[in-house]
Amino acid sequence: MRRALVLAAALLAGCAPTAQSYGEQLFNDPQFAGSKFNAWSCATCHAVRSGDARILTGHPMPGLFQRSATWGGALPRPIDAASFCYVAFMRGPGALSPDEPHSKALSAYLQSLPAAAPSGPLPFTVVANVVDVAPGDAVRGKAVYQQACQACHGEPHTGNGRNSTLATILPDVQDDYASVFPGVKPTLVFVEKIRHGQFLGIGGNMPPFSQEVLSDDDLGALLGYLGVR
């Protein structure tokens, strides 16, 4: 029994969270948004270490506090950047406050990540006026799908393994497009969704893929792999 108590005490001491460790937990936990409809954490869209092979819509977090602005220059303050994600993508209850402990812990964790040399904002070019992209190489497209889309959308046609049941099953949704967008090529509807995400009048809560993270070539390859017509 004494052994058990000692062990328990040791474990408890070892797990009393620090600001940084609790912040890391929040960064990785969808529950941080407090919404039962949210399945994503910050880690769904942001890398924290180099060598992350995913194609992510959000930029890596290391070096954040050395950048002169975020979101391609549109938001100067890191807290505003994180707040925007928290509300727009994760259905969080409101902007993060600099004085609130959860938010402070998240900041402590992000500050503990490796620093970088001072830089300007990392580029984030939204393709605002979309034009159609021709379907390309399906082999390349499969790799792009796995790195960029599969975590959220799961396997094509079944959605197996998707992180949120709110994510549409691809590419089957295109079957509805003939009635929803008569006369419009389904490829263009896909391109618009991928480039605009939930913005520019579309709705939902998917993030937009910038020109920098997804080239038109890779976008075409994706359409080829998915068999979007």
């Binding site: 062990l7 002169s68 812990a105 900041s107 009048g201």
Partner: protein, 401 residues
Amino acid sequence: MKRLAFVVLLALGACRPSSDPSLPAPSLTFSTPTWPEPAWWPGAGNGRLVLSNSRDDTLSVLDATKVGQATLPEVARVPVGLNPVEIEAPHHAAIAPDGSALYVNLSEYAPGTGTGPHGAHGTGTIDGKVLKLDGATGHLLGTTRVDRNSGDLEVSPDGTLVAVTHYDLLRIQEAQAGTAPSPDARVVLIDTASMTQRAAVMVCAAPHGVRFSKDGKRLYVACYSDEVAVVQLDAKDFPVTRIKVAANAGTAFEARQTPYALSVSPLTGDVFISCPRSGDVRVLTAALTIDDGRRTLLGGLPQLSGFSPDGTTLWVPTQGDDRVHAVDPLTGTRTASLNVPRDRCRNVHQVLALSSTLLAVVCEGDHVAPGSLVVLGTDGTVKSVTDVGTFPDYIGLWRTP
């Protein structure tokens, strides 16, 4: 052993505090500052010129102490807006009289900034917002939702109110097509302390330029429907008087003068109305009569005018011919017409007279490439040209005591 395992499990369970933001966080010690931010906000310094760049969601901030020198540097280009993906089109800004806050009008009118099968963004069908920014830090202090196509805004002389117009030309079309009951739009009065609407007053069709009288008791509004609306702010329910600017004035559907902007004389309280369609400036006296004797025909499309600091000259920019005119407000006589450097300045939009000898002229540009700020001597010499953001449409002088 079973007991041991149980205790260990219990301890492990206690290990992980909840991430739910509605529950209190575990007790934590913080050794880092919360959310550091880069140095990005220029502050008022020893005086700034502030321009709103309506097609790229930024403010250009220039060093007002360098006005008149050969180079007038832009000290900062600061982003504004709430949405980092969409252009929210900051159409004009206003500065608190004590310099403590900046108010930015997000009009959401920005054609060409987003299209796809779902339709076009920025067509003026969603509501605008007014932001209040802390002059010292640039931090957002509050927002107020206003109506769609928010146009001009101004802060009252005592700093307690912001008045916002709505240049809703779409509503005129809708009224003509029978899908809106009336072409008229509202002026929203915002309480600056709480950033809530104090009142929304129906004024006229497509109200744009708005100015307070010097004593803050009246609001003058330039209306597309060939009239000026005068809102009495010290009377119950803010009564509105609409005054046609000409004997031959038309209507919202068939407008002849289309008042767009106005300036109030600091000396006499008379109101000088820029009328693009008739190419002239018309005068409404403080006694609320139109003084046809002082009408000034300028040609071109008169835009946002400004008085010299001593009130003796009214400076009026005209588009089409891109010139800047001096008008004697007591007689209505045009006393000078200055050219702007055509290769660096297209579509003059506003003149701010900084002194008796220096004018700041905002040039929209072609709405795709950068616009510019030209400093002109009142003798017509070009002092400086500074590139700013895309489609600048407002300039103000920002000073703190």
